[in-house]
Symmetry: C2
Subunit: 220 residues, 2 copies
DNA sequence: CGCGCTTTTGACCAAAATCAAGCACTGTGG
DNA sequence: CCACAGTGCTTGATTTTGGTCAAAAGCGCG
């Protein structure tokens, strides 16, 4: 949204805020009057089951809207938490809805954004329903790096990577232990190298192969 | 869409067609110029992996649009197949887009529809990522019957149910064999009774309990 | 140095997949 | 009216993938 029409949105922007890592930015059950776009840093969107199980619905990267759903579905059905320190652009929900009604270009843009999000959700359903652990992990890495590349946030094959293995596990429907084993395989295969908060893809072709040769279409 | 503003859409409707069971209605990779809404019968939306694995992304019931994505994402990334004989209302993609631009109420409506679909996709991700086989099957049954009830297509607890166990399996990321065993448990528990093309919920509370007491919010 | 947090590793377990056989229903043709 | 073909369902034996539990090892940081 921000990148789609910077000028218009800058005009609507109310403020820019900074939030530390590991904070809940938006909480499920609320009916927020503010909307946020992620300007800098990483977040994730998740739901909790009553028994404590957590499903991460998506990883949010700079340029993403934090809670698109808040525009139309209330109360909000998921929470959003920061992974790193993040900077957010704050918008007023009513301002955005008004702009949506008055600007003839907005409906298409908004619908296109929703359609893209739905397509991404379909991708995730496919992954969780049909893919093995290695395929899921390999694809997650490919998806994230592809997206960063498209947004010009990736110089070489080396990324800042703030996800803990527990996040990967909760995003992919696996356990942290099994993610550890799976990542070890990717490392032994020479496909990736991981540092504390960094990831390097050393053999992209191999990674694509391990992802089942199913490259998610770019969509962006 | 159809039910949301019948009059407007009836005006846009180009024709009504009937398609037999087990036909592919829309094929992934195409860029359809027609859009369909499901007037009668059941369909499902799915993707195939190169190696033959199939993920059913959603089950479509009367009132659903067949391929919302076709409005904005091209080429289409999933296929749609009929489960029963279906009757479809046919719309011209350009007509709809024009209506969307000219009718001030349409953008909100369309965005709301997308948002709802995205929320449903999130539900599916949650289910595939965190739930056990019994929970998934129980929830699928609850979701479908709830939706039918909301649309006034369900008299008692007895539904026409055209899904084969293989469909359930491919929708839930299980195998048909395991779905068979899981359904047997539900039957032995006295929660449901299944006939050839019919399903009866005999103990809804028990079913909700088996679904992990996590009732998907209605969303409709 | 030592305290948290995260990752790794190992031994063991469980849920679901796989393989394979047999059964039941339905619809068709003799 | 019955044989039988096709499709889908059930069941059992076995294997696999990933989960669980628990301990130990790394690592960043005060």
């Amino acid at each position: 949204l921000v990148d789609a029409s910077p000028a218009k949105f800058t005009a609507l922007r109310r403020e820019v805020v900074t939030v530390p890592a590991r904070r809940i930015v938006v909480r499920a059950g609320e009916t927020p009057t503010k909307l946020y776009s992620l300007y800098n840093g990483w977040c994730f969107r998740f739901v909790l089951l009553p028994d404590g199980r957590r499903q991460i619905l998506s990883i949010l990267l700079p340029g993403d809207l934090l809670a698109t759903q808040a525009m139309y579905v209330n109360p909000l059905r998921y929470s959003v938490q920061s992974l790193t320190e993040v900077t957010l652009c704050v918008f007023d929900r009513e301002d955005l809805l008004t702009a949506l009604r008055n600007d003839p270009q907005m409906p298409d843009r908004m619908s296109a954004r929703f359609a893209r999000e739905a397509a991404e959700a379909d991708e995730r359903v496919l992954g969780l329903g049909q893919l093995t652990a290695i395929e899921r992990v390999a694809r997650l890495i490919l998806r994230l790096t592809n997206k960063l590349k498209l947004r010009g946030l990736l110089r070489d094959e080396n990324v800042e990577f703030p996800l803990r293995q527990e996040h990967i596990a909760d995003a992919l429907g696996l356990t942290a232990v099994h993610v550890s084993r799976t990542l070890s395989m990717l490392k032994e295969d020479g496909a990736i190298v991981m540092g504390r908060n960094a990831l390097t893809i050393t053999d992209r072709d191999r990674l694509v192969e391990l992802a089942g040769n199913y490259q998610a279409a770019a969509l962006n």
